[in-house]
């Protein structure tokens, strides 16, 4: 795809999947493979895949309440240049669904000192990704936009919110 033919929405790759755990493996491997080609280290690719896995699990379990017939869209785009010969500066992954809407401000990680099963997904997502933005979609469902930048060494660039109006806390 040349720069002039880049899609206006910036999306380079879009996956549509049902809300079934058996597709988690394929989704995270796809994201990890793309991240690898964009220049992330093996370790960073694994962590990005983990964050995507956690986000998809949350949609399946909490958004759709384990309904296996829900639809999830996963979109990937490189940050920092759309032409294939441009070096990417990071990756953006957007996960959208048609599940129940919730107030983004209420999506927070829990107190980790309270050791109990579950509730770690949001914490992991925030810990791994540089930017995490939950939004209500215009019609129905939620949109989660995740970004991670490549450091000079291609490694984890740490995490901080770059989206001011997301209604979440790190």
């Amino acid at each position: 795809m040349s720069q002039s033919s880049a899609k206006p929405d910036g999306i380079h790759l879009r996956l549509e999947m049902l809300s079934q755990p058996r597709y988690l493996s394929g989704a995270r491997e796809l994201v990890a493979a793309v991240a690898k080609r964009l220049g992330f280290t093996e370790q960073a690719c694994g962590q990005i895949a983990l964050a995507i896995d956690e986000a998809l699990c949350n949609v399946m379990c909490h958004g759709y309440g384990r309904d296996p017939n829900g639809v999830i869209w996963l979109s990937i785009e490189p940050l920092g240049g759309h032409a294939p010969d441009n070096g990417a500066t990071g990756i953006k992954v957007v996960i959208e669904d048609e599940a129940k809407q919730i107030d983004p401000a209420k999506i927070k990680s829990r107190d980790l000192d309270d050791v109990r099963p579950g509730g770690l997904g949001v914490h992991i997502i925030h810990e791994v990704m540089d930017s995490v933005c939950f939004q209500k979609r215009e019609t129905k469902g939620m949109r989660l936009s995740l970004e991670k930048r490549i450091d000079d060494d291609g490694a984890d660039s740490g995490g901080c919110c770059t989206e001011g109006a997301c209604g979440h806390e790190r």
Binding site: Q43, C57, L120
Partner: protein, 130 residues
């Protein structure tokens, strides 16, 4: 005694829809049980691990070792399963030990700040002595 058994198919939630069974080796001796799951542990497969852990704990062993040397990936559903097992183990005076973790798997315990909560050692030999 060494037996390779497929974990019972757990039909809770969506787990039964995966169409695949996780293989979990179960090695039992007088004092301990060693579970070695084979494959990735995620929302699709963690219910099978949970069944095996609960089954092992029902035997009330003094030590339950989970050898993760054949586990290349784990998400928070796997971690939650192990947290639940650890809490049940504590109530029944069973010592739960994790071993054989690859760096990729260990990192999720570190991210979740659970690496200090679990007893984690390098391998099964070390697990037998803690």
């Amino acid at each position: 005694m060494m037996a390779r058994i497929p974990a019972d198919v757990a039909q809770r939630g969506l787990a039964g829809m995966s169409g695949e069974q996780m293989k979990i080796d179960v090695e039992q001796n007088e004092a301990s049980v060693v579970l070695t799951p084979h494959g990735e542990i995620d929302l699709s497969s963690s219910p099978e691990l949970r069944e095996s852990l609960l089954s092992a704990l029902r035997g009330n062993p003094s030590k339950l070792i989970v050898n993760l040397c054949k586990t290349p990936y784990m998400d928070s559903s796997g971690v939650a399963t192990l947290v639940e097992a650890m809490q049940k183990a504590m109530r029944s005076q069973t010592k739960l030990v994790l071993c054989g973790m690859e760096d990729k798997v260990r990192s999720i315990f570190e991210i979740a700040r659970l690496d200090a909560v679990f007893t984690i050692v390098d391998d099964t030999d070390a697990a037998q002595t803690v």
